[in-house]
C-alpha cells in the first residue's frame, strides 16, 4: 500500500515538530488500529488502551520511522506489540506451544458448496474470535488490511515462511470450523 499524500505530509510536519499534525494521523488510523486491537483482545476497554498506547509509542518513535516502508505497516507493528503485551499481561497465552489448535483433517475442502450463503459478517467475526490471536491477526492483516506476506512479516516480526504457514493453518482452521457450523445448522 502506498502512502497517501496527506499521510506523508502529516508525518513530515510531525517530524518538523508540529505535534498537532499527529491528530490527523490519529484520525486517519484510529478505526483501523482500534478494530485490529478489538478483534485480538476481544475487550473494548483493553482495545482502546492498547490502541492509545500504540499511538503514543508511535509518536515517541516517529523519528525512527523509515519512509521507504508504508506508514500503516509501521503503525500496525507497534499496535501488534501493544496487543501482545496486553494479552501477556492478561495471562492470555500467545505461545504456539499452548494454543488450542485441534488436529486438522488432511484436506479441509468440500465445504464450499454450502458456504456461499453462510459466510456473513457475523459468522466470520465469530470464527475469527474463536481463533488464537496469532492466527486471527494474520488473516486480518492479509485480507482486511490487504497486506502481503512480506509486509505481515514486518508487522508481526516473524519470518515470511512463518507468516505463510500461519495463514495456511488459519485458513484451514476457519474452513474446519465453518464446516462444523454448517453441520450444526443442518441438524437444527
Amino acid at each position: 500500500m502506498m502512502m497517501g499524500e496527506t499521510e506523508i505530509e502529516l508525518v513530515r510536519r510531525c517530524l518538523e515538530g508540529e505535534n498537532s499534525s499527529f491528530a490527523g494521523l490519529v484520525e486517519l488510523y484510529q478505526d483501523k488500529i482500534y478494530s485490529f486491537a478489538l478483534r485480538l483482545l476481544k475487550d473494548p476497554a483493553a482495545a482502546e488502551e492498547a490502541a492509545q498506547e500504540a499511538f503514543v509509542k508511535a509518536f515517541k518513535a516517529l523519528s525512527s520511522y523509515n519512509p521507504a516502508y508504508p506508514f500503516s505497516s509501521w503503525l500496525f507493528r507497534i499496535a501488534h506489540n501493544a496487543c501482545m503485551d496486553a494479552l501477556r499481561a492478561g495471562n492470555k497465552t500467545v505461545s504456539l506451544d499452548h494454543e488450542d489448535f485441534p488436529d486438522l483433517p488432511d484436506k479441509a475442502a468440500g465445504v464450499a458448496e454450502t458456504v456461499a450463503d453462510s459466510i456473513d459478517a457475523e459468522r466470520i467475526e465469530a470464527l475469527l474470535s474463536s481463533l488464537p490471536a496469532l492466527y486471527s491477526e494474520v488473516l486480518l492483516l492479509a485480507y482486511r488490511e490487504d497486506m502481503g506476506p512480506a509486509e505481515i512479516a514486518r508487522v508481526i516480526g516473524a519470518p515470511e515462511g512463518t507468516v505463510k504457514a500461519r495463514l495456511f493453518r488459519a485458513r484451514e482452521l476457519i474452513k474446519v470450523k465453518l464446516g462444523a457450523f454448517n453441520a450444526q445448522d443442518a441438524t437444527v
Binding site: 459466510i119 476457519i174 474452513k175
Partner: protein, 169 residues
Amino acid sequence: MRRTQPFKGLARITREDDMKADKTEELIAKAIAALPYSRPSSGFSARVMAAVTAEAPRPWQAGIFKTAGLIVTAWAAALTYVSLRFLHTNLGDIAAQAIQPGGPQQALNLVAARAALVLAKTASAASFCLDMVSAAGLPAWYEVAVAALVCSAAIAALSKSARLAGRGI
C-alpha cells in the same frame, strides 16, 4: 488401461476438491475484507493527543537534550582524536612492547594497575564530595549567595579604586 482409469478419476476428484477449497478461501477472504471497522469511544482522539502532548518534550527541554547531545558528541570526538593521536605517536613503542616475550601481559598489568589507581582516586573523590555535602554546619544557600554578592562587590570596589589610583585621581 485398467490401471490408469482409477488414477484419472482420483485426479479429477482432487481437482474438484482443490477448486472447492479455492472457492472457500476466496469467500473467507472476501468476508474478512468486508468486515466493518469499529469506532473507539468518543474523545479517543482527544485522549491520545493529551497523552502525546504530555509525552512531548517542551522546546526548552528539547534544547537542553540537543545541547547535551552536542557536548557528548564533541567529547567523544575529542577523546577519539586524542586516543588515535596517542596510538599513532606511540605505535613503535606499543609494537615493540607487544612483540617482546611477556610484553602483552606486562602491558595488561600496567593498564590494570592504572585502572585500579583511577578507580581508587575516583572513589576517594566521591567520598570527599559526599562528606562535604553531608557535613553539618555548611552555610545555607542564601548565606552562600549573600557572601558571594559581598565578595563580588568588594572585588568590584577594589578594582575600581585601583583603576582610579592608576589614573592618578
